[in-house]
Every structure is written in C-alpha cells, then in structure tokens.
Symmetry: C2
Subunit: 322 residues, 2 copies
C-alpha cells in the first residue's frame, strides 16, 4: 500500500485514476476545486476509508503544501482547464490553470520533499505537427493554441524542476480521451444536440478533421505501465493514443448509430473546427507500446462506450450546456 495524491480528483480522468489506485489497495488523497469536477464521479471513492478528499484551489500558491509529504509515492497532477477550444475567449485561463497551477504544485513538492509527479499533457503541444504519426522527439513544434502553450509551459517547468531539485517526472501527451465520465468535447456536444433535436446536427468545420481518441481505462493502463517501467530517466515523456485515426464524420456515424438517429448534418465549413484546431492529430505511441501496453478498445468502440455512458447519465447534457 502506497500513498498517492491526485489533483483534479473529481474530473473525468482524475476520478478514474482515483478509482484505479483504490482498487489496487492504495491510500489516495484527492484534491479538487470543483470548478469542472463532479462530486458524483467520487461517489464510489467516498465510500472507501482509504480515500480522503480536499477542496482546494491550486491557484493559491501553498494550497497543496499541507497535503504533501516525502512519503507520497506519486502526485498525479491532473487538475487542468480541460477544453482546448475556449482559449481565445479567455486568454489567461490556460496560463493560470495549466502553467501557474503546475508551478504551485511543483513548489509544494519542492518544499515538502514529495518527489515524483505524473502530468497529463496533450498532443496539442505538437501544434500543426510536421510529421505523422508524431513521435515525442519530433522537430521542435510551434504552438497553435493557448491550451497547448499552457501545457507546454507546464511540461517545461516540470522538466526544469526535475533537473534543478531532483524530482522524477512522467509526462503523458494525450490524444482526446473518451469513455465513462467523459464530460466535455465533441462526442458530448453531438449527443447533447441530438438529445434535443434528433433531426439535425451542427458540425464545426467540414467533418473531415482527423482525430485520435483513447479510451480512458486504456489511458490509465498506459500510465500505470509507464510508472512500473524499469530504467526510467528523471524525465520520461510518453505519447498516449491509438494507432488509428477517425474523421469527425466517422465519429458522428458511430454516435448516430448508437442513438438510432439520422440527422441532417450542417457543417460550418473549413478544415478547422475552431481557431487553433488541428486538422489532424495522430501520435506515434511506439515508446509506450514498447513497454507492452496496447489499447483494448478501438476508437469506434471507445466512442460507442462513451455514448452509452452518456445515455445512462443524461445529467451530463445539462453540464455541457453551461
């Protein structure tokens, strides 16, 4: 039994990490400010005596310090502003929620002697990648979104702390993660639209944007696999995704099939859904695959599982609408 701290514990991925760590008989301390986290996601965890929850805003510099100690095995730093699309409307949000919050977490670790951090970064740090599938060591990218820039800044801080203060860091660059407790992004947007009106569907862009998705439990398998790997360096970076790609239209096909609807699709046009949207994300995941990890669900299966979960949890449609 080891002691873990999870920031963003009430979030989509955070709560799944909490559940997994508890299932593996660990002690887990969750931290969330509940700005986007859902108390319902922690209902199971709250029944577990090995789980403690702190409501904290990590934008406050010392918020995490009283919670950390040298015996914390890993800080899973998953608190973040989760949606890449709202960057231009709130330009400071990514700086605050990705960069400054991560700096605060690192400072608390430095002061308390907690030594190991896991960080959820994004394939968006590759901007418009010059090569596909994109490996972790691709040419130095140019940022195209505030979301990616905020994550890149956090990655850099974590790496510099590892070098300067002896931290160990594992950074994961995710594709879009879907599955149970998924609460933002286009699968939810489409399902919510179709729940309101099954006859028409508004689609940002032209529907040909190619995206990668990964099932949340496959994502967590990958993280635990990476943490158990032999011969780790102070900083390890892993792309996490599938080797497949689907278009937004493919994804809509699966959603419509699952919902049993045939809407008219209304495209806003252009090869980008929004400013900073990448027309294609496909990560080279051979580094994590070399450790023996494989995703268990295909992209279509993962989207299908997500739609089923949303149908069982229609309260998320109203969350999405806010």
């Amino acid at each position: 039994m080891a002691r873990y701290v999870v920031t963003g514990a009430a979030g989509f991925i955070g709560s799944a990490v909490v559940d997994r760590l508890l299932a593996e008989q660990n002690e887990v301390v969750g931290v969330d400010n509940f700005s986007t986290g859902q108390p319902r996601f922690l209902e199971a965890a709250q029944q577990n005596p090995r789980f403690t929850l702190h409501r904290r805003d990590l934008l406050e510099a010392e918020a995490l310090t009283p919670i950390l100690s040298p015996d914390v095995a890993v800080v899973f730093h998953l608190a973040a502003s989760a949606d890449v699309r709202f960057g231009p409307e709130r330009p400071r949000r990514d700086l605050e929620q990705s960069t400054i919050v991560t700096s605060n977490v690192l400072e608390s670790m430095r002061k308390t002697g907690a030594r190991r951090i896991v960080f959820s970064s994004t394939g968006s740090v590759y901007g418009e990648a010059p090569l596909f599938p994109t490996p972790e060591t691709c040419p130095f990218p140019i940022q195209t979104s505030l979301y990616g820039a905020g994550k890149l800044a956090a990655e850099g801080l974590i790496q510099a702390y590892a070098e300067s203060f002896g931290l160990w860091a594992t950074i994961f660059r995710f594709v879009y993660i879907v599955g149970e407790r998924y609460q933002h992004g286009h699968v939810l947007d489409f399902a919510a639209q179709l729940a309101r009106d099954p006859t028409r569907l508004r689609v940002l862009g032209d529907g040909t944007q190619r995206k990668s998705y990964l099932y949340v439990q496959d994502c967590i398998d990958a993280m635990t696999t990476a943490l158990r790997a032999e011969g780790q360096k102070k900083v390890e970076i892993y792309n996490l995704g599938t080797d497949e790609i689907v278009t937004v239209n493919d994804s809509i096909d699966v959603i419509c099939q699952e919902l049993g609807v045939k809407p008219r699709r209304e495209y806003t046009g252009g090869d980008r859904g929004w400013v900073g949207d990448n027309p294609m994300i496909l990560l080279d995941c051979s580094k994590i695959r070399a450790l023996g990890w494989r995703p268990r669900l295909t992209i279509r299966e993962a989207v299908r599982a997500t739609v089923r979960y949303l149908l069982e949890n229609p309260w998320l449609f109203s969350v999405a609408a806010t």
Copy 2:
C-alpha cells in the same frame, strides 16, 4: 519614421536596440522597471526628443496597455530576468519575469491592436541539445533550467497569440550576448574578481564548458535583418550566435591578456558551472545567415571588446557584486 516600443529599455540589449532605432530616425518608447536596468544606459537616448521613457512594472497586468496603439510598428519585448544561474534559488522568478510578463505584454497588444512582437528567447530552450550545431527545428527538447523553461513558456504563448489573434512574431534564440553595457555573466564576474585580486581566479566548473557568444551590435544587426526579410510567416524563429565555440578557459585567456594579469585558476570542478548549466551551446545559425547576416566580431574579439568596456566602466563591478 516609425514608432517602436522597447521593454527592458534600460537593459544591456534593450538600450542598444533603443539607440539603434533612434539612430535610424524612429520614434522610440522605452519601458523599464529599473530592477536591473541602468539609467546610465539611456543617457544618450534621453537627449533625443524622439525618445520617451516610462517606468513600469510589467508584472502588473495592464501596465503596457496605455502605451500601445495600432500604429506601433514593433514591440521589442526584451524585459526579462537575465541570468540563467539563479533559477534554483528563486524558483518563481523566471515564471514571473519571463512567462507572466510576456503574457501581460501579449494581452496589452491584443487589447490595443499592436500587432508585431520581437522576443528575446535563448539557446537555453534546447536544454542539453541532442545535436550540434543545434538548429531551430531540432528534436523537441527537454528543459534543464528554470530560465529556459520560462523562455520556452513565453515562446509558446507568443506563438499561440499569433495563431489566435493575428499577431506577427519574430523570436530570437540568443547565445550569450556580450559587448558594451554587458552587465552580468562570467566575463563580468571574472573581470570583477581580477579587479579585486589579480593573483587568483575562481572558476565554476572545470573550465572546459564550451560556450558561444555574440557581440551585441551583431545581435542587433541580425534582428533588424530578420525584421526586413521578405515572405515572413506569422511566427519566425531564429537562432542567433556565431559558428565558433570557445571554452571558458579560452575566454579567461582573452580576459587575462586584456587585463595584463596571470592569476592562479581555481576550479570548482565538474563539467557544469551550476545546476542546469549546459556543458555546450552551439547554435546552427544558417537560417539567419541565409538572409545575408554575418557577425562582424569573432568570439574572442567580442570578449575583448567587453573587457575594454568594463575597464572604462568600473562602476559595473559594484553592480555585479550586488
């Protein structure tokens, strides 16, 4: 005649940019908080009716907004924490002075319609580069210093603003810049030590660290060359350095020769001068060279010019001691 804004106007590079822009008959608005800037560096500029100076702390979010307007040709954002070595002692300083200050500058530009930014980044963003000479498109690096991480974060923000809000950006990754008004770094440290005691010299590391330097006027020539280039993309990134390399020991030879001293050299040992120090920096500058730019001084000539300047301005030794 165009109107330029220079942040860090009283600094080493900033004041040289101010003087150059004034010499080219432009109107220049300088901004500095004088935390490390020197009023003496602006003595000539202050005599010029085309120069205005504002004392502002750019950590305050709206500090630059009243100064900017759509008719500003270029914002030279050169305000920064200039010394790579103090990162670990003041871990928040680079986040504040590089990342947050740059975010504030960008927000002021977005709000006022100022459209073009020049940013002074650093070869330190390459961390321990996997290839030499290191091109702008080298494999995605891992940060090794808080200084580099702060600059990388600022670069990412600038790039995302360019994509999101239509800014135009030219980012320069400097090697060590030396020359007139040089006021921090090892040429000054060594000269100051030898001014106090010409018989011994304490050297961080083993003296074999290989460094690149560039003469400040060559640096400014390169920036003006890049800004005049045809066919620029929204974001252009240029390495700025010479194609040579010298060891710290070579540099000491030049300094001692210029000062006419033969000190005993006392090495602290190891291949790094400080945590996060790179044993080698050598940038591939073929991109800027392709525009016709060449450095006029060799590294040794640049170090020599720096020592001569310091001998004429011994007041900088006391600045260095603080």
